[in-house]
């Protein structure tokens, strides 16, 4: 259906009128939980970008690896899920630092495009490695009844995890904002992000700041992965690709480098995706295009994103 037909607006209003309150509420709950999941992962992108000015393409695949870690922890080694949760966070943080050391640190002085290619390479390597090690067959994310149970409020059905995800997102947001704004490490981070050279001259240990950034970003990825796994329990080597792109877009929409912006962007995307299908059911096949279209519109009108600050390129 390439041709957009004229009656669309009519149908739009009809769709709203026909939609019962419970359906609307259900859509809202769906969108909210998807959005908070996007937000959680988007924070990781925005943090790395804020400091290093590069897209950490591998972030999505770190999420994917974290899902596999969780699978091995719970299903293979039978570790209780809460302990696995902690273990996964640690393992993923280590993975993040390893990637930073091997793929990004050697290129710190290199042109930006090389770093970008290296990031794409790292992402591609992780995917292929997972494909090779764990085979392309989907694994099932372990079921955690406490989190996967259903709660009914009136006619609206909510999975317990959908209540946990937003809490996690806002908790992470609060902790992060505290770290960035009120600790010494955070101050160093802000300094590096403002001006890399000056920060170094002023005695900031750049390597340590960047490593910390990666630890925090990857830990968030691990939390996101865990939530993702419980909510959508099929694990494949390519599971991170699409969500990764969307979360990066969320970060850009909100203003890259801005943590609150990433959360805002995540919610815009999550709710937008759900409501576009809710109101225009005939467009359900185009759902994935939504994120990209929003991205391009935002970049066109406000290249720095909704909450971003305007910077001028130094000559």
């Amino acid at each position: 259906m390439l041709i957009v037909y004229g009656g669309e607006e009519m149908e739009f209003f009809q769709a709203i009128l026909n939609m019962s309150a419970s359906s609307l509420a259900q859509h809202f709950v769906n969108g909210f939980s998807l959005g908070s999941l996007y937000a959680l992962i988007a924070i990781g992108y925005t943090m790395v970008y804020g400091i290093l000015l590069m897209i950490n393409f591998a972030h999505a695949d770190i999420v994917m690896m974290a899902c596999y870690f969780a699978f091995f922890g719970i299903t293979v080694f039978h570790i209780p899920w809460y302990l696995t949760f902690v273990g996964v966070i640690i393992a993923t943080a280590i993975l993040g630092v390893v990637i930073e050391r091997t793929a990004y640190r050697p290129l710190r002085e290199a042109p930006k495009n090389s770093v970008l290619i290296s990031a794409i390479g790292a992402s591609f390597l992780l995917e292929n490695l997972a494909n090779y090690l764990f085979s392309g067959r989907p694994l099932s994310f372990p079921d955690i009844p406490l989190l996967s149970q259903n709660i009914a409020i009136g006619e609206v059905q909510i999975q317990a995890i959908c209540l946990v995800i937003p809490v996690m997102t806002f908790l992470s947001l609060a902790v992060l904002l505290h770290i960035v704004n009120h600790t010494k490490t955070g101050m160093a981070m802000r300094a590096v992000s403002k001006d890399y050279e000056i920060a170094r001259v002023m005695g900031v240990n750049i390597d340590r700041v960047i490593s910390t950034t990666f630890i925090i970003g990857s830990a968030l990825a691990a939390i996101g992965a865990f939530m993702w796994g419980v909510r959508y329990p099929g694990i494949t080597p390519y599971l991170g690709v699409m969500p990764g792109l969307k979360c990066f877009i969320a970060a850009v929409i909100g203003g890259i480098g801005n943590i609150k912006g990433a959360v805002l962007g995540g919610f815009i995307l999550g709710l937008g995706e759900i409501f576009i299908v809710a109101f225009f059911p005939q467009l359900s096949g185009y759902r994935d295009a939504f994120a990209f279209i929003v991205l391009i519109i935002i970049l066109f009108y406000k290249p720095t994103g909704l909450l971003g600050v305007k910077t001028t390129e130094k000559v």
């Binding site: 359906s23 259900q26 998807l34 259903n150 006619e155 329990p233 994935d288």
Partner: protein
């Protein structure tokens, strides 16, 4: 600087080494006249790896039970097409030209088979599809055959089943980027409208993309329309998640799908939520009528300690068709084998007596199965006509 040079030299030599070993492989080919080479190309990695692996099991088992033809040993040359079309084409060409196989078997995934279609046509080497159900695979191609039924038949079977069990308003959820799903959905829709005599019998067609994880939006829409049943053919991972989320949203009507669902992963990922999901497939223990089927069942459970899936059975049959063709052609010349395969009639195969029609498609009965207590259970049987 020095390190970089050393690294680059190492890198270059690694590539060279790879190239050399690649060339070295050719020597093996010194064609031993006491073997007949049969090429197998399947997706062993990538999206379709699960299906490819099951089919490889079937083919290997068939080779084990029927290791010789014309008093020569049959050697399988297995290649991975990575669930990728360009790869599938070049793998098929490689098997034909480099490995000099006389027949090809494969593949899971119709688009992968179609990519190889031109190659076998050009090289005049017959190919036997295992579970590529798109009608286009064998259409206008005299060298492609298949051991499975085709999408129109499968869609019609499920429409009949739905109608027979009292469904009058059905919603369709299709994986719009998957040819298999789109094909099944279309034929289901046509057959169901005909059966019910109601042009509005299909109350909703919703789309999703391969790899999607969140289906809550389309499902919430669907719930409001209150269908009697949902027809949702597609990849097993996505389908399992779809059904899971449907249950979470309180949708309790039965879900129906096609033969792709019949993999362990569907149950692993879907858990108790996929209980009651109904699908059409080609084979079941209950309907194992032929002797070959009994042999297959026993050998399969001995070898892999698991219940065989229809995919393995169909791949096994594809091998049988190939061997039968070679035997009746009494030759290893691909053209003669092709002519023999085209006249396959009443071959004793696992999924019943197999006859190939003028398009090269197997006329097959369909079995309808349901997920019960974490297992695929026989439910119903639909004849080929």
């Amino acid at each position: 600087m020095k390190l970089k040079k050393v690294m680059s030299v190492l890198l270059a030599s690694a590539v060279m080494l790879g190239a050399l070993t690649g060339c070295g492989g050719d020597k093996k080919e010194a064609a031993k006249s006491d073997t007949i080479k049969v090429g197998v190309f399947l997706p062993l990695t990538g999206d379709n790896a699960a299906g490819g692996e099951l089919e490889l099991r079937g083919i290997k088992l068939a080779n084990k039970l029927h290791p010789t033809v014309l008093n020569k040993k049959v050697e399988l040359v297995v290649a991975d097409n990575k669930s990728d079309k360009a790869e599938s084409a070049s793998v098929a060409a490689r098997l034909i030209e480099k490995d000099k196989v006389v027949t090809l078997i494969g593949t899971y995934g119709s688009s992968l088979a179609m990519a190889a279609g031109n190659i076998v046509k050009e090289a005049k080497v017959p190919a036997i599809g295992t579970s590529c159900t798109n009608p286009q695979v064998t259409a206008n191609n005299d060298y492609y055959f298949r051991a499975c039924f085709i999408d129109p038949f499968q869609g019609t079977v499920m429409a009949n089943y739905a109608y027979k069990n009292g469904a009058r308003k059905v919603a369709i959820v299709q994986e719009v980027s998957n040819d298999y799903s789109v094909g099944l959905a279309k034929f289901f829709k046509e057959a169901f409208i005909k059966l019910t005599n109601d042009p509005d019998a299909i109350i909703d067609i919703a789309n999703y993309q391969t790899g999607d994880k969140d289906f809550t939006a389309i499902l919430t829409n669907l719930k409001a329309k209150n269908p009697d049943a949902v027809f949702a053919p597609g990849n097993f991972t996505e389908s399992a998640l779809l059904i899971k989320q449907a249950h979470q949203l309180g949708i309790t009507v039965p879900f129906m799908g096609g033969d792709t669902w019949e993999t362990q992963e569907f149950i692993d990922v879907g858990g108790k939520d996929v209980e009651g999901a109904v699908m059409s497939t080609a084979f079941d223990r209950e309907k194992a009528s032929t002797e070959e089927a009994q042999k297959f069942l026993k050998a399969y459970t001995d070898e892999y300690k698991a219940e065989p899936s229809a995919l393995s059975a169909m791949a096994y049959d594809a091998y049988l068709i190939a061997i039968d063709g070679i035997k009746r052609a009494n030759s290893v010349e691909p053209q003669k084998i092709r002519d023999a395969i085209a006249t396959t009639k009443d071959l004793e195969a696992v999924t019943g007596k197999t006859t190939l029609d003028k398009n090269g498609d197997a006329e097959k009965a369909a079995v309808i199965k349901v997920v019960k207590e974490g297992k695929f259970k026989y439910l119903d049987f639909v004849d080929a006509k």
